[in-house]
Symmetry: C2
Subunit: 221 residues, 2 copies
DNA sequence: GTCTATACTAGGATAGAC
DNA sequence: GTCTATCCTAGTATAGAC
């Protein structure tokens, strides 16, 4: 694959020998965005983290927004890939939901910078994206986010139908569930030591109790 | 009070005839920070929202960070003032916690821009604040935030002691509770129509169930 | 008190050397 | 592919008029 053919096509399309470079940039960018947010992060900083200058970064991404979007996209790819099988698995809605919540929590802890970028992406307004291409890219990412959330909504809806979960608006319930977990990206600061198993249990138990119908508390205390 | 005496003292200290102007600036700033975040908000934009130029803003605040901090401070003042009486009231822990959760949700909905600034403040790093004064100001605000959270932690701890709430780490439980509610500041976009009563119920019920000990489910279904 | 300059810098983005 | 050099805009902050 001669270098001419991959000159500034869409970053994702330009996969080849230098895919590893792209991933390096991606993860440096995720780290930088995590620490300072999109607006306060400079391409110089990202480059510095790579031991390079912005020339390198701009070779792969034509703008800071594109770089941000690609981090976002990568995060959603991982998330969907992880959660989808659990959502469609062959178990009761409440069992599936517990697994999904636990897995989502693990995604947050294990890919923290990426998940924080997702949070920033949710807060981000389309008004910020100047070019039409960028608006399109952001819309696509929001759509991916919606599909992800829909996996949870479907399971919760099922659970309400079976009576395992309390009646109510499944969408709001999912906002509550994901809020419980995603809020971690706001206050948590990843240190050397990983959080204990109790950490995860506390959140997952809270969620399953929070959803459970009062009538079906016997499912497992 | 001659105008000389209030020349650029701490913004909060400079209360007087023009307190109303300060509040106008504060709420315009909250709105602007809500929409675009701290870094992407320009003082020009804030001034424009006031139908003025930045001269006005800089007369009251010596930097953008100071302005942000004052919005944050005002938000925490309102929050503490609202929640403290409920936390100390003469009821069972679970009753108090329900009231506090409901009140916190209402604070979010009714002072949305201010609450969103609080969220941004939590994400913000001290590394961002350059001057020593600013670091001190941010520390004080973080301390206020901690006191606020502690009100919840105390009630939850009591509830665990009485057996109303499930055993576990009260701090993590409070992170879960506040996450459920504060996450609303991330995804919610205030429109003309206020959310229904069902909106609040869904969240508060989820929270109370999430905390409740399995043994004490009979308290009220 | 508020406005209109204006100084000054950070940082996005591009061009062109290598 | 990556770097250096450069352009250029946006935006903080201040000075000084009114």
């Amino acid at each position: 694959m001669p270098s001419l053919t991959k000159k500034k096509l869409s970053p994702v399309a330009s996969a080849g020998l230098d895919e590893s470079v792209r991933l390096e940039i991606l993860s440096a960018a995720a780290e930088a965005f995590m620490k300072n947010g999109f607006a306060a992060t400079s391409i110089d900083t990202v480059a510095e983290m790579l031991g390079a200058t912005k020339g390198r970064v701009y070779y792969y991404y034509k703008s800071k927004a594109d770089l941000f979007f690609d981090v976002y996209r990568e995060a959603m790819r991982i998330n969907l890939e992880t959660i989808k099988p659990l959502a469609k698995s062959d178990q009761t809605p409440s069992e599936r939901l517990s697994l999904m919540a636990h897995a989502h929590l693990m995604l947050i802890l294990e890919h923290f910078p990426f998940q924080r970028v997702v949070t920033q992406g949710i807060e981000m307004h389309l008004s910020g994206s100047t070019t039409p291409d960028q608006r399109k890219a952001l819309s696509a990412l929001i759509a991916a986010r919606d599909r992800y959330e829909q996996l949870f909504v479907d399971v919760v809806s099922e659970g309400i139908a079976t009576g395992e979960f309390a009646a109510g608006d499944p969408r709001l319930k999912v906002k509550a569930v994901l809020g419980t977990l995603n809020w971690i990206t706001i206050w948590y600061r990843p240190k050397s030591k990983q959080p204990s198993a109790q950490f995860a249990d506390e959140f997952v138990n809270y969620i399953t109790r929070g959803l459970r119908s009062p009538n079906s508390y016997w499912h497992n205390g």
